[in-house]
Symmetry: C2
Subunit: 498 residues, 2 copies
């Protein structure tokens, strides 16, 4: 056991870790990325260690901000012992070899990931194993249940608690606030948490942040829901199935989202929020996450089976995902679409999809159907409810959205006449991101066309908006290099003469 | 493009990376663990980025010591652009899915790992993919060749350049210095590089460091070899197949050593050192890395095939690995065994194994056989050569080894009479490490018995030595909990009455 003096090193981004001088580490036989048992005031915790020859002198121990959370201050003395490799590493290897894990083994893996005992290399191996072998049904249930129980869970007096989730990948798919407004108007409770964008031009939380404060403490969220039935919050700070964020950390660099892990992560969050009925939106198409209708159907079946074992009623909506929804892509531009639908106007696809999904929630809870949803929307009740939630979250529903759109804009026009045959979601998203979304709220794209529209040379296809001139320039350049819209003479077999 | 001021953060242990304030990172759309293109004085390099809210202020960029190697000093301005994910990540995923990689894809993976463009999560996925699917023959050749060409390579005037490698896992297996002394006495060139212990009580480099400086600059190594024909150096700073250390970084936390990667790593180093003939020692047995004779044979066949494609003659020695070799385990204690064999004495197993492997090298190069090796050893020529190399490496061959043995010692005695039926290599190693090896050179274990020895209750089985009393106490405790030797009445079917 070594006795070392604490030294605060604010290395924020990673799991709680300690940095030891290489001589001290050798003294207890610990190598870089090993685990050590750190004891402070009789409380012990196993953490990942990194070694350094210079930044921490022998006799001291460097702690990052997350490690410092445990009440340790600089110059406190800590005791350090070598710790065994966590047993979950053996289970990850077992899964890598293709064997089925027991319930207990699944639970240990999730709890070790959640307790930050797994280093990045091991996390890469876990994600790889699921990518290759997926979960069996039994593993899926065990992993999901454990993901629920390692975080905060919510209970509600009203038993009609509903939720929705979209598999994502479709730009402008901002149905959530509209559905929340309709469902809560019908007397349902919908404690909706949303995410921020990682690789997309905007997450629902990024968009709603234009209107109100989406980062609320848990007791405040309870207040908002008690008052309005719903909420528009970012789930990132709420400790709901917190292992999910840690697993995403491993999926992100590899751009993989193994189906089993997706099922577990979505359903763990819904179960933790206390939802009793959930509608899952599964957009499919060559430009969305789920490529084919058959894959969408099989995913839907797995969602329903998992929901059953968790006591959550599930309906899946397999939806068209081959092109962006609405006009706006990027926070402020999406807000304009949302408000327009709530005011009883367009865009038509966003309105239709919101009504269909709301109708499914109403049916699941025996509160009505699509017609009910449409009546609520047309009556202005949904708009009123929406404004009520925004105000409850310290927001201003009367924002002049148009004034917030990026002041540098450009119209992109058709270079030929013909039919719009394809819109590339990934390219649209990339251009919107390079224009500044989601960081610059007013940046993004405003679409003027949909697939099958007939356009004439010189017609406006879409606009790019940016808050900074230089970003608009970059976005235009990327747009020219990876043009996001195909226009063809539809009845012509010859596409192009080169 | 962002222009940021350099700030030196000595975070040593990891790949070159930069730390950006989260606002600056968002400005260019980069997330934690993404890559960015950093430009300084018109030179650009892609590096992994981590983000922080506090440690680096917006407008600055944190660089670790490795990144600072590129001549950047604090307050220099750097330009930062977003960079695409390296294409090798797609190839790693292809391999995860079980597909065969093309030569080009193998090369890009190795070169991206070597250039530190692969983050830890992706490295975990690479190692997992090889663990699961191994390399095909074609992949193995491509990976090995690329590992050679990404580092330094050596050429020698004398064409009789030989080398040896042991798969490892057997404590006390310190044949290397004896073989180097014999082979170079016979006129062969043996530019031997060795490793330090990672999880074992001593690597050859740790042991030889008792006598001489094993960390020599490359030109000095050339001098020593020109003068003596051989050398005893640590390979860690020599830039030979440098990707290997980076891959080991990914294998270590998972305790996996996929066969294909082992083959590539070993042969890349031998080829880079210019070896024309190599003997591979493959110890097998339940207590060594290779468990069965059939696995040892199949590994041997793959070594020979790979050697052929690289133009290196290979002979494999499948050896007994079920118990430690020699008496000493730990740097100084192993030195005593080595010197004893060079002086024409025991331990018998260490002497025998050294002679067999030396004989194989002499045969491969048509310089003789086992008998030749024995004559060289018995004549004292090998001892003389050994002393010559030690002196050439600024060492003292007349060291009083006995005085360097840890002064805290304990004899471990048989608690019953019977036959030694099993010696647990892993437990022996662990006890020696806890006693302080390899950091404390005088720490370790001295074995008095071998398997099949008949012992009486109270006979000495082994001694534990330590430089610090407290470490001896820990070692004794671990020894009692995980007793490393089984003694049984061999002809008795009843092992124990409990």
């Amino acid at each position: 056991m070594l006795k070392l003096k604490a030294k605060y090193l604010d290395i924020e981004p990673r799991y709680p870790l300690v940095i030891m001088n290489i001589d001290d580490a050798k003294e207890i036989g610990a190598n870089n990325t090993d685990r050590v048992l750190v004891t402070f005031k009789k409380k012990s915790k196993i953490v990942v260690v990194e070694t350094t020859a210079t930044i921490v002198p022998s006799g001291s121990i460097g702690l990052n901000r997350r490690a410092m959370k445990y009440g340790i201050t600089t110059d406190d003395y800590l005791y350090v012992d070598p710790a065994e490799k966590p047993v979950s590493v053996e289970y990850i290897k077992k899964k890598l070899r293709g064997a089925e894990l027991t319930k207990k083994e699944c639970e240990v893996i999730i709890s070790d990931i959640n307790d930050n005992k797994i280093n990045d290399i091991e996390l890469g191996a876990y994600v790889s194993a699921i990518y290759m072998h997926d979960f069996t049904d039994r593993e899926l249930i065990a992993i999901t249940r454990k993901m629920v129980s390692t975080g905060a869970t919510f209970k509600w007096k009203n038993n009609n608690v509903v939720d929705k989730h979209s598999i994502g990948g479709v730009p402008g798919n901002r149905v959530t606030p509209i559905i929340v407004a309709i469902a809560t108007s019908a007397g349902l409770v919908m404690p909706k948490t949303s995410s921020r964008a990682i690789t997309s031009p905007s997450g629902t939380a990024d968009t709603l942040e234009v209107w109100c404060n989406v980062d609320q403490p848990t007791d405040k969220i309870q207040d908002v829901i008690d008052k309005t039935g719903g909420c528009f919050v970012w789930g990132g700070n709420m400790d709901i199935a917190p292992t999910d964020d840690k697993i995403i950390r491993g999926e992100y660099p590899l751009s993989i989202d193994p189906e089993g892990q997706l099922l577990a992560s979505v359903m763990a969050k819904k179960a933790a929020m206390g939802a009793k009925a959930v509608v899952i939106d599964i957009p499919f198409g060559s430009e969305s996450k789920v490529e084919s209708l058959s894959k969408a159907r099989s995913l839907a079946r797995r969602f329903k089976a998992l929901g059953k074992s968790l006591g959550v009623k599930i309906e899946c909506a397999v939806t068209r995902g081959e092109q962006p929804i609405g006009h706006g892509i990027g926070p402020v531009l999406e807000c304009m679409d949302i408000l327009s639908v709530l005011e009883g106007k367009g865009p038509k696809d966003l309105r239709e999809k919101s009504l269909e999904l709301s109708g499914m929630l109403l049916k699941l809870t025996k509160k009505g159907d699509r017609k009910t949803a449409e009546d609520i929307l047309n009556s202005g009740m949904a708009l009123k409810k929406f404004r009520q939630i925004v105000v409850a979250q310290e927001g201003n529903p009367d924002l002049n959205l148009r004034s917030l759109v990026g002041r540098h804009g450009v119209n992109v026009k058709a270079s030929r006449s013909g039919t719009v045959t394809r819109i590339y979601n990934h390219r649209i998203s990339r251009i919107a991101r390079i224009a500044g979304a989601p960081k610059d709220k007013g940046a993004g794209i405003y679409m003027h066309v949909k697939i099958d529209d007939i356009v004439k040379k010189g017609d406006r296809l879409f606009d790019i908006y940016s808050e900074k001139k230089i970003k608009l320039g970059h976005a235009q350049k990327i747009c020219a290099e990876n043009y996001p819209i195909d226009i063809e003479e539809k009845d012509n077999m010859l596409v192009e003469e080169i």
